[in-house]
């Protein structure tokens, strides 16, 4: 694996975009392998989504989004505990815990990190596919104003 690992801030999005059955299966296996325990109570709740509008640059609340957090401890190679965490836009506590396990395994290079990396890359590829499709859809809605100007000339006659 030669490509550098993407920054940790992208991991949640990537894992969440990967195939969820495989994410849960791998995390379940690694959780047992590394004696995972919760470090705090995983929590599903709502968060207010704050955005900045583009005219006056004021912030405003767009609405509520589901947010689930999980924080786990894993037994590292040297017998010390290492941590993994997850904050996801989802309402499934179990899924957040699974992502926290993968996060911890990958961040601390524990056994299973390679498989986690595979899922991560898959997720990133999936995100890119979706982004491309969306970009294509967006480009089709673009209007060429120069053409409109020519059409306008006709009307003046």
């Amino acid at each position: 694996m030669t490509t550098p690992i993407p920054p940790r801030s992208l991991w949640m999005r990537a894992f969440a975009a990967a195939e969820s059955d495989r994410v849960l299966a791998l995390a379940g296996r690694l959780a047992i392998e590394h004696g995972a325990t919760h470090r705090s109570a995983p929590r599903a709740g709502l968060a207010l989504l704050r955005l900045r509008e583009s005219v006056m640059l004021d912030t405003f609340y767009l609405g509520e989004i589901p947010v689930t957090t999980a924080r786990v401890a894993l037994l590292g190679r040297d017998g010390l505990h290492v941590e993994g965490g997850a904050v996801v836009m989802d309402d499934d506590v179990e899924f957040a815990a699974a992502l926290a396990v993968l996060d911890g395994v990958l961040a601390h290079g524990l056994a299973g990190a390679a498989e986690a990396r595979e899922l991560l890359d898959e997720g990133l590829a999936q995100i890119e596919r979706v982004a491309n499709v969306r970009a294509a859809m967006l480009s089709r809605t673009k209007v060429d104003f120069s053409l409109m100007a020519e059409a306008g000339d006709d009307n003046r006659a």
């Binding site: 047992i32 995972a36 470090r39 109570a41």
Partner: protein, 193 residues
């Protein structure tokens, strides 16, 4: 599935609901003792009470440092000095510290009087015996407060002197709990054998 990842019993929503209902019943009927063992998964009752009521919205004071770092991680509440804390967790076998001054609320906001969770042993059956009367009690009833130091009852009388101001006590031993809301009149009766 991530079956290896079990959340401790007292932090599971279902268990917290059961713990709360027991606690509500105790608060509504001072002197009644509830056994929480079925829902604590072996955790001390005092910690179970805190788990059922606290979250990141409230402040908790632990002046005797009874809680571990792990407890704080799960409780998620803000650590705070005693005077500002909504919840105070103490061990009741020794007399209250002279400088322990919990929030009593104000005339317009008596609900801001602290809830003090006191850890003892032998609740209900042994130790300091008290006679209780007041709201929630049909006529009067008796309660054994285990190893609770009598100084706590004296202090409570001072804190609850001016109703509606005051503090509400939740007394816990290993698995059981009883409540003494500020309205309860307490008469000390001597010791159980």
């Amino acid at each position: 599935m991530t079956t290896a990842l079990d959340v401790p019993a007292i932090y599971r929503p279902k268990h917290q609901q059961r713990l709360f209902r027991q606690l509500l019943d105790c608060m509504a009927r001072p002197g009644s003792v509830a056994d929480l063992a079925a829902w604590t998964g072996g955790a001390p009752a005092a910690l179970a009470v805190l788990a059922a009521l606290c979250d990141s919205e409230v402040s908790l004071a632990d002046p005797q440092r009874l809680l571990t770092g792990g407890d704080w991680d799960f409780l998620e509440c803000r650590q705070s000095p005693v005077a500002q804390a909504r919840f105070i967790f103490v061990d009741g076998t020794t007399a209250p510290a002279a400088d322990l001054e919990p929030a009593l609320g104000a005339l317009t906001t008596p609900e801001q009087g602290a809830t003090i969770v006191i850890r003892v042993s032998g609740l209900g059956t042994t130790g300091q015996k008290v006679r209780l009367s007041g709201p929630g009690i049909a006529a009067q009833c008796e309660l054994g407060l285990g190893t609770l130091h009598p100084g706590w009852l004296d202090q409570r009388a001072v804190w609850c002197r001016f109703f509606p101001l005051g503090v509400d006590l939740v007394v816990c031993d290993e698995s059981r709990v009883a409540a003494l809301p500020r309205t309860t009149r307490v008469t000390q009766m001597g010791m159980h054998r």
